[in-house]
């Protein structure tokens, strides 16, 4: 097996990081590639949970090699992936004593506010941690998209003030945001200060597709003798 691993290492340069994560995930030598890949995700505004979990696992196996900066970038990226539970998935792999240090304490507070729908407190906290979060482009937009998502699960008609608070935008910028949503997601201006969100299966649960009445073939098969 060792020989195989060496062979794979030689050929490594010709593989993409995603391929390494799929076919050779338990090789300590891919750690630098995975770290570079995190930086690449930050600069190119892309995301790969599997690659990042793979890197956190390597840090878990060899704690001496852990880079605080890389881990904090992974966690910020995970916040941006809300509503997916990626942030907790990453925390499960990070030692408790590391989590007690900054910047992780701040990030955990941010995650808590997002998980419990407290956008007002969230944006206040963001304002205090600009430098940490600015390092990852696209952060605010990603959270605004998450806020839009939770609101669209919850409301058919949402007051403008509630929306403004959730996405932390006011005035003309808010109009622009709503216009953008109108084009992309079918939002519309309603009476008064209400914004109408189109019906989906979550804010209009009657729409929920009932699984229908599907009868598996093997059940039908039981009455074949009778039908014949």
């Amino acid at each position: 097996m060792e020989r195989e691993m060496q062979k794979q290492q030689q050929e490594e340069s010709s593989y993409t990081v995603e391929q390494l994560v799929t076919f050779n995930p338990y090789n300590p030598d891919i750690l630098p590639d995975l770290e570079n890949y995190v930086n690449e995700q930050v600069s190119s505004q892309t995301y790969s949970l599997d690659a990042n979990l793979c890197l956190l696992r390597h840090y878990q196996f060899e704690p001496d090699r852990m880079s605080i900066q890389i881990v904090s970038h992974i966690l910020i990226k995970a916040l941006m992936a809300m509503p997916a539970p990626d942030f907790s998935l990453c925390l499960f792999l990070i030692p408790e004593k590391v989590q007690m240090e900054e910047p992780f304490k701040t990030l955990i507070v941010l995650s808590h506010y997002l998980e419990t729908g407290r956008f007002c407190q969230f944006w206040d906290e963001v304002a205090k941690s600009r430098r940490l979060l600015e390092a990852v482009p696209g952060f605010e937009q990603a959270i605004q998209a998450y806020a839009g998502h939770v609101l669209s699960l919850t409301y058919q008609k949402v007051p403008r003030a509630v929306l403004a608070e959730a996405i932390n935008i006011e005035g003309p910028s808010l109009d622009k945001f709503i216009e953008h949503q109108a084009v992309n997601s079918g939002w519309a201006l309603g009476k008064g200060q209400l914004i109408v969100i189109p019906k989906n299966e979550f804010n209009h649960p009657e729409l929920k597709k009932s699984g229908g009445d599907i009868v598996p073939l093997e059940h039908i098969a039981r009455i074949f003798p009778i039908l014949g």
């Binding site: 338990y26 792999l93 956008f119 919850t154 058919q156 509630v162 979550f202 649960p205 929920k208 059940h219």
Partner: protein
């Protein structure tokens, strides 16, 4: 010894240390019953007589162990080798059983743990090089993978208890740092999966190009089932190792080639069936996919309820019962966070009420006492988490064997606390079909802004993301807000007419048959 990972706390508790053991044990003495055992087992293996191998492995080995080797190891492999033509592979298999017996009944020394690792390396080495042409029972192959992961987990726990280590032990740990190294363990399991091409085999089977599941993994064309089935069970092994590490996403990914909604080869061995569903369900719970977890726990608990009696005499009976109890505890947690009782079969539900009815009622309150119960059930039912990295031998020696468990518990309870206000919302949503925000805020004794955040939390926490990153709903009761009115929609269970019609058709046919058989005078 299937899913034996509950033994690890037993180190040195009322079990004999090998060093102090009975002086009468002579590793080189081979009694006649052992000679007969190895000779027959060896012969059946050469004849590829799976039925007899299974009898020897499952019955005779345990019977002899109970009778003659309760407190001592079996004779050493060197002593039995010449009865089996010094067959290399047979000797590796014998040693694997030898260590398994030792781990189950005695306390292994560090040297023995390391030797057992070496033996696994040699055994998996010959399997991976494709020189094994045997046909072994699934039970035995499952036990190998299961024991391999168990011994890894046991080693991590052992190594993490640094406080009482002797200088000699620390020196050995440093010297043999490759033994039970996490990279090595994962790479062996991964290599078995890849080399066996099991994922491709399962894919080809879906297209009808191959038979694997239909033959329970056995090879009836003269080939060997060993690599294929070991590869198959290694996927379950990877699921389990990743759960022990706290990497639930990757854990589920490793299991993906096995479709748990269908019967598969994992079904053929009760230990593998339970290990698969237990870890799958646990990972779903941690990923907040409560409905998936409830469905799978319900299915397997019902299955265990039906087949339990047939395993009463099995060496694994106690382990089956223990996992059964643990899964009821996990089901109680899932249903407290996601009260979808309609997903649970009546039999399972009545068992659950009996065991946890009172606790579940208290868990609904989400007060300090409730958190203590969540803590208790989680601690009782969770896997034995491990810290995979080696300790630093220079620093003062401290025990860190609880660190991994404490982290998972803390994060789990954190999640529970984030959901604590949801049960209050549920209570009100159950009795209203629509209610204004102001009124509900008043009832719940919070201001309107806070109420809006709680409602958002309810929506967010009752949705999960499935393996295809699609949003799925776990909500028992749902609602939407129009301006400042909440409108409630209770999701009613879908009536299954298909089943009713099928049953009635069969009933009618029975009645008609009865009528036909009546002869009118």
């Amino acid at each position: 010894m299937s899913f034996s990972y509950d033994y690890d706390e037993a180190d040195g508790h009322g079990q004999m240390q090998l060093s102090q053991q009975d002086v009468a044990y002579d590793p080189n003495f081979v009694p006649d019953y052992v000679k007969s055992f190895v000779v027959h087992l060896y012969r059946y293996i050469r004849e590829k007589n799976v039925y007899e191998i299974y009898q020897m492995y499952e019955s005779s080995f345990h019977a002899l162990s109970d009778r003659y080797f309760k407190e001592t190891p079996w004779p050493s492999v060197d002593a039995v080798a010449h009865y089996v033509d010094n067959d290399h592979v047979f000797c590796l298999l014998y040693r694997e059983m030898w260590f398994r017996h030792l781990f189950a009944r005695l306390s292994p020394t560090l040297k023995q743990r390391i030797d057992s690792w070496d033996n696994y390396c040699s055994l998996f080495g010959v399997v991976l090089h494709g020189v094994v042409n045997m046909q072994l029972p699934n039970q035995w192959l499952w036990d190998m993978v299961d024991e391999f992961v168990y011994q890894f987990q046991s080693f991590c726990q052992y190594r993490a208890k640094m406080k009482n280590k002797t200088e000699q032990e620390i020196a050995l740990l440093g010297q043999y740092d490759k033994a039970w190294n996490v990279y090595g363990v994962l790479n062996y399991l991964q290599a078995l999966v890849e080399k066996s091409a099991i994922i491709q085999i399962l894919d080809r089977e879906k297209e009808g190009l191959e038979q694997f599941t239909a033959n329970d993994g056995y090879d009836y064309d003269g080939g060997s089932n060993v690599l294929k089935v070991l590869g198959y069970f290694s996927m379950v092994g990877l699921l389990r190792v990743h759960c022990l590490l706290g990497d639930y996403q990757t854990a589920l990914k490793c299991l993906q080639p096995i479709d748990t909604s269908q019967q598969g080869v994992y079904f053929t061995v009760i230990g593998s069936h339970i290990a698969t569903i237990y870890h799958y369900g646990f990972a779903c719970l941690m990923l907040r996919r409560y409905v998936d977890a409830i469905r799978e726990f319900n299915k397997i608990l019902l299955h265990i309820y039906m087949i339990k009696q047939y395993h009463q005499k099995s060496s694994q009976y106690e382990q089956i019962l223990k996992k059964n109890e643990q899964m009821y505890a996990l089901l109680a947690i899932c249903l407290s966070l996601c009260p979808q009782v309609n997903l649970v079969d009546e039999t399972v539900n009545s068992q659950l009420r009996e065991k946890y009815g009172e606790k579940m009622a208290r868990m609904q309150k989400f007060d300090e006492e409730a958190f203590a119960i969540y803590d208790e059930l989680f601690s009782y039912a969770c896997p034995k988490f491990i810290t995979p990295s080696a300790p630093s031998f220079d620093e003062p020696l401290v025990n860190y064997n609880q660190d991994a468990y404490r982290l998972q518990l803390k994060l789990f309870l954190y999640e529970v606390k984030q959901q604590q206000l949801l049960s209050g919302i549920r209570t009100f949503l159950k009795v209203y079909s629509s209610i204004s925000l102001a009124k509900l805020a008043n009832y719940m004794d919070v201001d309107e802004t806070t109420l809006r955040t709680i409602l958002l939390t309810y929506k967010h926490k009752t949705r999960a993301v499935d393996s295809d990153r699609k949003i799925i709903s776990n909500a028992d009761i749902d609602f939407y807000i129009e301006d400042d009115m909440i409108r409630v929609v209770e999701s009613k269970p879908v009536k299954r007419y298909g089943d009713i019609f099928l049953r009635q058709i069969i009933k009618l046919e029975g009645v008609m048959n009865n009528l036909d058989s009546i002869k009118l005078e």
